[in-house]
Amino acid sequence: MWPFHRKSHRPPQTVEATDTDTSAPVVEPQVVRRKVKTPKIRNSNFEVGGDLGVLSVEDFGANGLANARVIYHITEDIFAEGVYGESRLGLTSYERLSGGSRLLTDAQRRLRYYTLDLGYDLFPGETYVGKRHTYNSALYVIAGVGATRFGSASHFTVTVGGGYRMLLTDWMAAHVDVRGHVFDNSLLGTTRTSNNLEGTLGITVFF
């Protein structure tokens, strides 16, 4: 079939089949090569959504938090995530007890953070809700870096946490997350390292 192949593989001393082989192929293949277009299969690796929850900042109490996040699933286990969140700081004990004196203005009490995380699906599986409903779910851990800005200063932040993702439908997931944001803060005189916990509940959409 392929004269090219036979030529290179056949030992030169074989002579029996020479008559038929050296002649031109009996049937010229009349195949019209079709241009094959790669079928387009939609990729669905992005997950975008938002969360609501509570962020506790050392000395400033626990306050409401809203954040937005974008997740990209790199492999079946690993995902990359970017989060942007906003919260407000409460009063410190010092401010409450001293009466009028304020450490921060209202504008400075606005807290914003971003983190860049890498996540790992630790325990993928199914969650059974009642007798009739089954949802795919996964328990995951994340770690990342970012910055937290409040009181007119940014703080380099290391974030470690975990969460639970339950797929309500093919394209929508509910998340429950607990994370700790670790940063150094020198707002109250000395520099201290604090771990600031957040707990959130959120919805994401795959596309």
């Binding site: 094959v36 079928p39 860049l116 993928p124 199914e126 870096v145 919805i203």
Partner: protein, 258 residues
């Protein structure tokens, strides 16, 4: 706060109901959607369907050789497929590779032995490290012009003792041996830096200056599309004072192709 929480719970409970309330139709979804999705037939003795897109999700069904399936979409290396009986599950990429199109050809998928630039020309990543003594966080997006050369845009945020800064950069990176698992590269670029001094007494005006950089780095391909990247860069900030400022930067992080 309480209102928000109530709203969140209400949304959480209500949304799945909405999604389930699809109009009933007697015909199979498989027939309704024929032509909408790529259809392939199973050529291996069987094709396993998992309940989720991962090897650790259990297999719930096996499709026999010769049956036709529709490919709904893909997530990482898993394909969501529907069989002739409207069963929907997830099939592995290496199994899908052996399925046949109506023309008799194998389903064309990107090559596994090296980075497929046609399928994944983009690279995105995040890094952290040290820029001129301060902590730096960086994100970048890069487009491969050819296997060796890529164009990159990046945003970097530095949190220093005396000042914070934000940089927006554009550069070109050249990798002499992109086929190596640990592949070195050199890069060259330019951008702008905006410096925010941290003094609280008087707020000096923000400074915005042009800079240039060159650097060397290494990419370590951990999986097909996931990599570790570390690099060193030397920056020169072109100030309008008598002297230009030089900064060194070290950073490391992770990236992926898409």
């Amino acid at each position: 706060m309480r209102k928000l929480l109530k709203l969140a719970i209400a949304v959480l409970l209500f949304l799945p109901l909405l999604a389930h309330a699809a109009a009933p139709d007697d015909r199979r979804r498989f027939d309704q959607d024929s032509g909408k999705y790529v259809q392939v037939s199973v050529a291996d003795p069987y094709l396993e369907l998992h309940i989720g897109p991962g090897r650790r999700y259990p297999v719930f069904h096996v499709i026999a050789r010769g049956e036709t399936i529709q490919i709904l979409y893909r997530r990482t290396d898993w394909f969501r497929v529907r069989d002739e009986h409207d069963r929907v599950g997830w099939a592995r990429r290496i199994d899908m590779q052996e399925t046949l199109l109506a023309t008799g050809e194998k389903l064309p998928l990107e090559r596994l032995d090296h980075r497929d630039l046609d399928s994944y020309p983009w690279e995105a990543g995040g890094q952290t490290g040290n820029f001129g003594g301060g902590n730096v966080n960086a994100v970048y997006l890069s487009y491969a012009l050819n296997p060796n050369l890529s164009a990159e845009i990046a945003g970097e945020h530095t949190i220093g003792h005396n000042s914070d800064s934000e940089m927006f950069l554009f550069g070109l990176a050249h990798a002499p041996r992109p086929d190596w698992r640990v592949s070195p590269f050199v890069d060259l670029g330019t951008g702008v830096i905006r410096v925010y001094p941290k003094t609280t007494i008087v707020a000096p005006p923000q400074k915005r200056e042009v800079l240039g950089y060159y650097g060397v780095g290494v990419k370590w391909y951990l999986t097909q599309r996931f990599l570790f990247r570390a690099d060193y860069r030397a920056y020169r900030i072109l100030t309008n004072r008598d002297q230009n400022e030089d900064r060194n930067e070290w950073k490391a992080g992770f990236a992926f192709f898409f």
